[in-house]
Symmetry: C2
């Protein structure tokens, strides 16, 4: 046995106990006649003491040789500390060491193993095993594990069965790119890694499993945007004999459970908002509702005067920035520059200061009267002291730009408190979205999403306006989950494939097994999947998923620690009947 | 809401309640004036009744049209059943139906959805979603989910952290074949799918995580023996600052916990046996100890007479078959044929009947006296009424043959009771095993396994006799888990790679990251992995893992339901810079 206690557990009540501890040298202070060592493990830090008077000379000298991150084992007596440290749970005691064994030496780490390290992202990733020794990273991983346990406890307690669906499946050209896996035993053929267990969970419902969940790795061979990973984890769920309302209720309850259990936060309010309302009010299908700054459509007022830019715009829309009336000209110019950045793409910005005396000062004073501007203020909810920021142009694009501005301002104003949690259901998503590249409609969620029954007729006449029984769970401006009521009727599914541009043969080749399954008594079913990496990072009060993944990949999909991907042997390629053409 | 109750929940106390149920038509009986329907869901079966007197005509006729596996929703009143069915929990009541809606029709299923079905393996796999509707399959999946929950509860309660390790890793030529995954973003390079998270869990220990576990999919592109799957699930565990004894104790406790929780069985005895002892006593490194029939080495006695076959054999070894003295000559001949089958490979078998009167009758009476045979009986523990079966030849091979015979006879004698659980630790495995093909030593477990310190000197002089700190957990003749104390010293690891025939460059290229990690303070660590599919099937009292996997693959690694693997688009291949050469 390497230890009788871990480094976080000894207290004043243990004084005089003989103990054995093991761990890493966090740091040591050497006064010549006395050496203190902070011994660290996952559970905490315990101070070790060696001194001339009470420690034999060889041992003291050995202690003086210890370097940072050495792994040692010590035996000694728990004694009362002279200068207690109230900041750590073991701060009342220290260990008077009687024997010391170095289990492993360490070279000087490439960065400091401290809460705030001097290591940059790349270095930390290359030596991720050292990065994980740092409290914040380790705590994130432990937190992730706790969230997963609470998810499982909640769902298992409600009769959900965790079923492992296969990882080696079949490639489907729909949607994002699949990773493929050549099969040695089936020459010239490939498996694909799942982008989600969608069809399998639907088959489990056809199989009568009633309530399914799985915390499962999924894969997407996509060009990686900032915070995406080629492999990611979902909480994947599906239920039979339910309607949208049932699904919303249970996952609302689950989210509440998680917030209570892992954050001790009570969230009662789970507002619902249609997709259309979210776009009109926030220009965004995942609005952050921790703060207001809702959009005010001022088109009608703005177009009533002689200002050409507004008169030619499809939409004129503004937000009220709390306290923004005090911004200097320079600050406002910077804001204008910000919205004109290519990432945002606005042509310009009109502003109105709402002065404390009730008057208005705007950049378009020559076109609009004080009464006009008062109407703008009312539409945007601006009050004295606020700044109204107004953008104009094509409706969708302008809303997107104003949404970006709203989020940026909220960030600057400190309105995005990571310890405040504001969930929101966005419902009634469009079933289809137009794809400019392929010039056809794509499924906004996936081809198995059920249209609203009352909108089915529009599939042929007005496909863009068909609403789906689809819903997203949004938290603090992030989509943390999404799902839909599924089609469970073979005819309707065939109709959907047809509208998505599949020939019957293509639909058959790719999803024949699902359509076959629907011929043998499919129950109504619906489901939802949470992005687990995202969920954990939001609950953890951070927005970077990479900080909650033990061994993440970089933006090129590389694991820089193990140096993967890599070339493989010719022998291996030959066995797989493959030739690399680069 | 599709239902107020599920099909397993209504009782006599619900009589007169108005309820809504939904589910599948298990079967219906139509007496013309009266129709009974068994409505089934995951939770049970509830009987529906329609009759001339109480049901309107149109509804009765509708009920008469229902086919097996139709999905229906009914509203009605709970009434007392006239002829109660004590076999099902809902047997006291039935539903007098007032309205019926067919949610989904069903074609006639290709096999019967009953506990014992008429469907063959292949048909059931093709329509696995129907197979899952059958009670035994569904119960296996639910059982698996429960075992996983209990594993997690146990480990989380002991400070183990579940960490997800990456699925897209790097190919290592050592051991079984990796599945590889071409990377589109890194031209000409491949990821590999993990055969186990071995190196990652060791890095987590270097990272100070102290106690790790994961229930995780692993992958092996192997020629599939009968009961293997290309993707399989492990309970993967690792601990720091532990010795072998600590690991054995905690997983003994976990196994006890599982047996108690999921089987309500108390198992106190976890015997330990060295690899050598297991081979000598049972000819097998995973002996089934639910029954005796231990090997008796009778070489000394057998070679003392003039029987050439025995005199030329390295080993003469026997087992006592309880009650076998009553076997007819024909039965014994069949047994001899059985051991001579190529799968077993014995040249023949000598037998001794231990008569009730204390005399012996053997197939080698002309060489051996009654006193000689009495010695054999003592060595094999045979008593009156038993049959001694004796094999001879090269030691290892002969032990293997006798082990096969022992298992076969135990099976025939009903000694392998699936509801009896006999765990066993097999310890002190050899570190290395000789590989005939490559003519060099391979790691018996893997290259990170620590040799016993007292045997390290033998690495150069007598590598085959170096013992490892490696252990297997055996249950009822199956290996359900295995692990080892790991090397945590860079020098020793380099020495191991050297003995395994790696050049320093090869070792560096493949495991450089791990050897680097060992330079920054690696703690002593050890671990273990359970084969989860196997564990669940053994606990479930069955030996076929496929029955406990939702969507298993066949012996060619194919999923016959979704028809994978399959060819992929040329476009997809081009993007991956690949050409198929078949």
């Amino acid at each position: 046995m390497y230890r009788t206690h871990d480094c976080g557990s000894l207290r004043a009540s243990d004084i005089n106990a003989e103990v054995t501890l093991a761990g890493w040298v966090q740091k040591s202070r050497d006064k010549g006649f006395m050496v203190w060592v902070d011994l660290r493990d996952r559970y905490g830090i315990t101070q070790l003491i060696f001194d001339e008077e009470r420690t034999d000379k060889a041992l003291l000298e050995k202690a003086q040789q210890l370097g940072r991150e050495f792994v040692i084992q010590v035996k000694g007596t728990v004694i009362e500390r002279e200068s207690k440290n109230a900041n750590i749970p073991t701060g009342d005691i220290e260990i008077l060491v009687k024997s010391l064994e170095v289990l492993s030496e360490s070279k000087t780490p490439p960065f400091t193993i401290e809460d705030k390290t001097d290591g940059g992202e790349e270095l930390r990733m290359k030596y991720r095993y050292l990065d994980i020794r740092r409290n914040p990273v380790r705590e994130n991983l432990i937190f992730r594990s706790q969230v997963a346990m609470e998810v499982r406890n909640f769902l298992a307690g409600r009769d959900f069965v965790e079923v492992e669906t296969p990882v080696l499946i079949k490639s489907t050209p729909e949607g994002a790119r699949d990773f493929v896996v050549p099969s040695r035993m089936n020459e010239g053929q490939f498996y694909a890694l799942p982008q989600s267990p969608q069809t399998f969970k639907q088959l489990l419902m056809v199989g009568g499993l009633d309530k399914y969940f799985q915390i499962v790795k999924c894969f997407r061979d996509e060009d990686l945007r900032a915070d995406r990973q080629p492999e990611f984890t979902q909480i994947d769920c599906e239920m039979s004999f339910v309607e949208q309302e049932d699904v919303l209720n249970i996952f609302e309850e689950m989210t509440r459970h998680l917030l209570k259990k892992v954050k001790n936060v009570d969230v009662t309010d789970f507002p619902r908002m249609t997709y259309r309302e979210a776009m009109e009010k926030y220009g965004n299908d995942k609005p952050d509702i921790r703060f207001g700054m809702e959009f005010g459509d001022i088109s009608a007022f703005a177009k009533a005067r002689d200002f050409k830019i507004f008169n030619e715009a499809e939409l004129v829309v503004g937000i009220a920035v709390p306290g923004g009336a005090s911004y200097t000209r320079k600050e406002i110019d910077k804001l204008i520059d910000w919205v004109k950045r290519p990432q945002v793409g606005a042509m310009g910005m009109v502003y109105v200061k709402c002065n404390e005396d009730g008057s208005f000062k705007s950049s378009v004073d020559k076109f609009y009267s004080q009464e006009d501007l008062a109407q703008w203020a009312e539409a945007t909810g601006a009050t004295a002291g606020d700044l109204i920021c107004v953008l104009s142009g094509p409706a969708d694009k302008t809303r997107g730009q104003l949404s970006a501005l709203r989020m940026e301002l909220a960030e600057r104003l400190g309105l995005r408190d990571p310890e405040v949690f504001a969930p929101l259901w966005v419902i009634d998503f469009p079933l289809l979205e137009w794809d400019e590249d392929t010039e056809r409609y794509h499924a906004m969620h996936h081809p198995f999403t059920s249209p609203k029954p009352e909108d089915i007729d529009k599939l042929s006449t007005d496909p863009g306006n068909v609403r789906a029984n689809a819903y997203d769970l949004v938290m603090n401006g992030n989509e943390i989950g999404g799902g839909s009521v599924r089609i469970f009727d073979k005819q309707l599914q065939a109709l959907m494939f047809d509208h998505l541009g599949f020939t019957p043969e293509e639909a058959r080749a790719q999803f024949g097994f699902l359509m076959d399954a629907f011929e043998y008594g499919a129950p109504p079913h619906a489901g939802l999947a949470f992005g687990f990496d995202r969920l954990v990072s939001i609950l953890g009060g951070q927005e970077t998923i990479r900080d909650f993944i033990a061994f993440p990949k970089n933006n090129s999909g590389r694991d820089v620690m193990i140096d993967a991907p890599a070339t493989i042997d010719d022998e291996q390629l030959k066995e797989l009947n493959l030739k690399v053409t680069v």
